[in-house]
Amino acid sequence: MTDQSGIDTLQYLSGQTARHVRLQLASPSEIVNPLLFFLLVVILFPLGLGPDPERLALMAPGILWVVALLANLMICMRLFVDDFEDGSLEQLAMASTPLALSVIPQLLAAWMTGGLVLSLAAPLFGMMLGLPVSAVPVLVASLLMGTAIMLLLGAVGAALTVGVRRGGILLALLILPLYIPVLIAGTRALDEALHSGDPVVALAFLGAGVTGGLLLAPLAIAAGLRVSLEL
């Protein structure tokens, strides 16, 4: 019996994730925009700082992580808006499936089309800033985990502000303070990798963040959505 319901839950999650990915792919601009933003900033920084490769490489961890953070903020601002406006969200809240479970497919789809794509494109951007190839694995690993944490945290803020007209600034104010530890850990891991130190501690911190976020954020997101829907 429990096996059966376990399979059903898996089917439900995979089916819904596929639906959300299909929705994201139907409006590709929302996937491309954060990438384009990333690219623009990475092109502009060398113009502003001067083309000295050593100085750029020194600053690359900070630049890459700040831009990834801001791109992630762009993704979070759109997160529940469409579903709120067209009524899908209240249907989701009415359904017998707990809201904390039924928001997970949407988060997963948003990460796959957002954070995952950013993390995989980041080595290219890193090389444009003169980041040594030896630091690339740490860059990708730290961004994979960092974007997941930032999406989970951002989704809590997005859930709370989705009912607010032009809630973008409010969202940024709410969640930027929560992003700071992630930013510090991420740049720290990259710095260590650059100066042949040990990035494991910072990466472990990010890993712990993902685990904790996966456990707690869906509950907070569900509660936030209920507030926004005035349930």
Binding site: Y12, G15, Q16, L23, A26, E85, S88, M94
Partner: protein
């Protein structure tokens, strides 16, 4: 289903002491002018307005609620829209989807982006959900909006069919529906709060 229910919006009491029992086979119309509280009451029945409702509310677990916003994705085709309900629960067969789309007369547009359809056609796609396997109790907010005469007839026939097969329908509308004897009307003008 509900007895002595009061609905408040902010500090203003919208409705007080409304009682309504919906049995199998019932088709109820919540009538009344604009702003009288039809939608608020319907949302209360759907448990979508918990804060503002006082009184006793007993409801069977599964309902189908269709509100002002149709929960359709403009970027998907009508067929893809029907494939999963926004609540994520039913995944009807392709045949069932075709039959439902045909019943509401939009089968010819099944593979066009929903955003390109007219308001009435979108409405029809949303209402096609009523022709798929669905819960017994339907709560429909202004289902006749933007429909042409033929669409209204199809929908009314579907209401009666659903009621006769043991279901129940509660819908809001300010026009009188041609549903004959089986229609029961609850006029909310008589329950105004203030």
């Amino acid at each position: 289903m509900a007895s002595e229910l009061s609905v408040q919006k902010g500090v203003r009491a919208l409705l007080s002491n409304v009682s309504l029992t919906v049995n199998q086979g019932d088709v109820w119309q919540l009538a009344g002018g604009n702003g009288v509280g039809k939608t608020s009451l319907l949302r209360a029945f759907a448990r979508l307005a918990r804060i503002e409702v006082f009184g006793r509310l007993e409801r069977c677990e599964d309902v189908l609620y269709s509100g002002h916003s149709a929960a359709l994705k403009g970027a998907l085709t009508p067929r893809q829209n029907l494939m999963t309900h926004p609540s994520g629960l039913n995944a009807p067969s392709d045949l069932a989807i075709d039959t439902a789309l045909e019943a509401v007369g939009v089968l010819g547009h099944a593979d066009v982006q929903t955003a390109r359809l007219s308001a009435g056609q979108k409405r029809r796609v949303a209402l096609a959900r009523l022709f798929l396997p669905s819960p017994r109790l339907w709560l429909l907010d202004e289902p006749f909006t933007a429909l042409d005469v033929q669409g209204v007839n199809v929908l009314e026939a579907r209401f009666l069919e659903h009621a006769r097969s043991g279901g129940a329908v509660v819908f809001t509308s300010h026009q009188s529906a041609a549903l004959g004897d089986e229609l029961k009307v609850l006029n909310l003008e008589h329950y105004c709060g203030d």
